[in-house]
Symmetry: C2
Subunit: 135 residues, 2 copies
């Protein structure tokens, strides 16, 4: 499957060392630029409070199958943790939509490195996407 | 970006007409087969109750930028609704893990068509991925 970026993420995180482990706990404002060819896909986006953002970790290592999660000491499978280093490095986060101006969206809650290719945007729907319990 | 399937989804939904609009509201049991080359990535998966599943809607129309959502009458942008017909048809759902046996996972809450390519599995973490409010 060949993916084409629908846009680009502009953030203040220039290197992995700059980025928070999880954007969810950051107040940092990030801008999503949607390329002009895809602008028609944004119709109605402003009514959503939260968006699911899928983007490519384009500086990730695709070859790894196991990793030691932050704060841990034991190896775990990449499908059992959230490391960006995984066979298909599609990263996922739920972002708060702050503003939209044409093909530029201002969001909070994204830990993407500056320049990361944007792959998809979907509205977050709590009844579908949330689960009360977790581990 | 070129993606390689890490496995395949086995479900009873053979055509779009068979599949529920959202798997979340279905009790259907679905099996995820992870290919042998990626089995090491599953280490520790059994401890998670909910998993984020990313898969390809391989029968989707990539060319559409707008759609009329189910139950609606007005066109909306594909990034503002959950239609599988979108430029990069990566579908997302939160599934409940029922059982794991080697490289086969049994889950509930996936509406994928039989044979859909599996792209990634991540543990669902409520504190990261859930949002109390929605629209």
């Amino acid at each position: 499957m060949e993916l084409r970026p629908i846009g680009c993420i502009h953030s203040s995180y220039k290197t992995l060392a700059d980025a928070p482990r999880q954007g969810r706990w950051s107040e940092e404002i990030v801008q999503l630029e949607i390329y002009a060819a895809y602008e028609d896909g944004l119709l109605g986006i402003g009514k959503h409070q939260y968006l699911i953002i899928l983007y490519e970790a384009d500086r990730a290592d695709h070859s790894r199958l196991q990793a030691i999660p932050c704060g841990g000491t034991a190896k775990t499978g990449v499908f059992s943790c959230r490391t960006p280093n995984r066979p298909n490095p599609i990263l996922f986060c739920v972002a708060e939509l702050i503003d939209c101006q044409g093909r530029f969206l201002t969001v909070r809650g994204v830990e993407a490195l500056d320049g990361s290719p944007l792959l998809d945007i979907k509205p977050y729907i709590a009844a579908l996407d949330g689960q009360p319990k977790t581990d």
